[in-house]
Symmetry: C2
Amino acid sequence: MTKNITIYDLAKELKLDSSTISRALSDSPRVGKKTKERVLKKAHELGYSRNMMASNLRTNKTMTIGVVIPYISRHFFSEAIDGIEQVVASKNYRVIISQSHDDFETEKKIVKGLFMNRIDGLLISPTMSTPNAEHLNLYHENKIPVVLFDRYFENGGFSKVIFEDRKGAFDLTQHMIDNNCKKLFHLAGGISSLIYKERFLGYKEALEKNNLEFKDSYVRSSNLNPEDAIRIIKEILEKKDDLPDALVCGNDVSALAIMKYLDENTDLKVPEDIAIGGFSNEPASDIIKPGLTTIDQHSFIIGKTAAEMLLNFINDKEKAFQTSNTVVVRSELIIRGSTKKKINH
Amino acid sequence: MTKNITIYDLAKELKLDSSTISRALSDSPRVGKKTKERVLKKAHELGYSRNMMASNLRTNKTMTIGVVIPYISRHFFSEAIDGIEQVVASKNYRVIISQSHDDFETEKKIVKGLFMNRIDGLLISPTMSTPNAEHLNLYHENKIPVVLFDRYFENGGFSKVIFEDRKGAFDLTQHMIDNNCKKLFHLAGGISSLIYKERFLGYKEALEKNNLEFKDSYVRSSNLNPEDAIRIIKEILEKKDDLPDALVCGNDVSALAIMKYLDENTDLKVPEDIAIGGFSNEPASDIIKPGLTTIDQHSFIIGKTAAEMLLNFINDKEKAFQTSNTVVVRSELIIRGSTKKKINH
DNA sequence: TTGAAAGCGCTAACAG
DNA sequence: CTGTTAGCGCTTTCAA
């Protein structure tokens, strides 16, 4: 093992004290211009690289924020990460990204691990099955700021950047009703997750407002992954006397899986026989034919806003633990072919 | 600021020495069973959490490996990451994922930053424009194992897990020729990147083998993002007397962008007027109509293999720096509608 | 089985 | 402007 170069090596070579080296390296005003140059030159020469473990230990800061999300591959999250990175990089913070794969046990491990590494703040979008914020207590107790984004908890007093899920679902459903849909089913996400509860409520409110029939059997809960979606659409199609003419899906991933299934395995046409709407505006939603009508969640903005809020809290701990801030990001209905039924005049 | 609980706090409470606490916490055989239990209980009670900064500094290990990729949102990479995580998690290592956005300067910064954090090993798929491995010298000099995956360099002696790009491109091109394509253009990636050079060569070899005309003007280089792809297809379509009947694209992202463009802005039909093939088997490629014929890269396997190799090297530095290992992962042609021209008999 | 003591590499108060 | 000194929290010889 090659020995790593330390400030002591530089100090010895330059006949200076290690503290001077340390100052020079962090560009302190308390060291001469000439000395700085000598130090920098020598550091480069020897291939010196500051040991952040030691530095962090000493300063009790890591300049690192942890980001925990269900899946990096989901468009919503990868775009949110881009927003987070943009903000965070400009302030010289680093980001550690971890995915929970929507598994609560994994999430707990990650959250614990990040704490042990003494991150300066945490940005988290919990799993569908995360029941409460207990695993985040450690952060609260040790005054490490946490900001939730997208998914969140009812209580726990965490600051968050969320999306107007209910309005989004309402607008989507209303739009489908306006396009002559009469019998709308809903593919819901895990009901323990508030965002999916909100989406469900938005759907339901739209039905009620338009005096359309609502039945519990119109709503199917699942994890909204492709496998779930296909299983559910099969179940729905089995009851031939009770077919919907529209599907309000809790996300695009499930909606896309269903569109593909219908196209390949049935004679049902979208949107003529069955209209379909989704959530998140995945890239594939603009590629499929017909295009999938969906709710854009402005995930870049969500990520950006959450990161700004977190950095704010990191720099003002008072604020972080005396207030609880909630920012709601606006929804946007993206209308494509999958909902274009003929309209009665 | 709440003071963090340290082993000294535990030691004081239990009237033991900090070293005993440390041993108990890491389940050393050199401490009594009863003592261990007391320590663990107290640790839990006080909400103790080991400070990895300090631990890492002392042991000179971080149990962390860095992963640097162009984009987390690309299916190829997110799947490779899943492969990496699977291997690495089982050995209690952590993963730090960073994206370079295919920008060399960003990559350099990330690589430097990861080194400063003293990761135990690095997995990297460099940017298209990364000219050489100079920025990885730091790792070599300090005997920190590096494994390249997917993208790589000609020399530098790095171990790597790569894909049989040439064969993949050859097979794809041959398949298109078998489907009656006569004039095949190629959307190439940055030529400085070997994988795209290989894909180009595979394309070219297939033309030659079939005695089809090859011209430099048939090949267009770019970053293969959607914007580039659309710009290029527009340019190609302008020369109405020199239109291709097939496009061999360097990746799916560009192929998909072109299919969408053709569908929305021209009368050209895929595959009748122009056949299209891609690389990577993005999820959208199976959703678009017609489906996009592509080369599956088994990215999960690539990630898994690269991670296994890296862990191997971490545990046997000799091997890591005395040998250079190259594993090639097999390609698989996925045939879909986008290349199904009528075949002459 | 436990304790004492040193030190990983760095920073920051204090002193000059 | 530079040096001295102490210590962040942990692990690990060495000693008992």
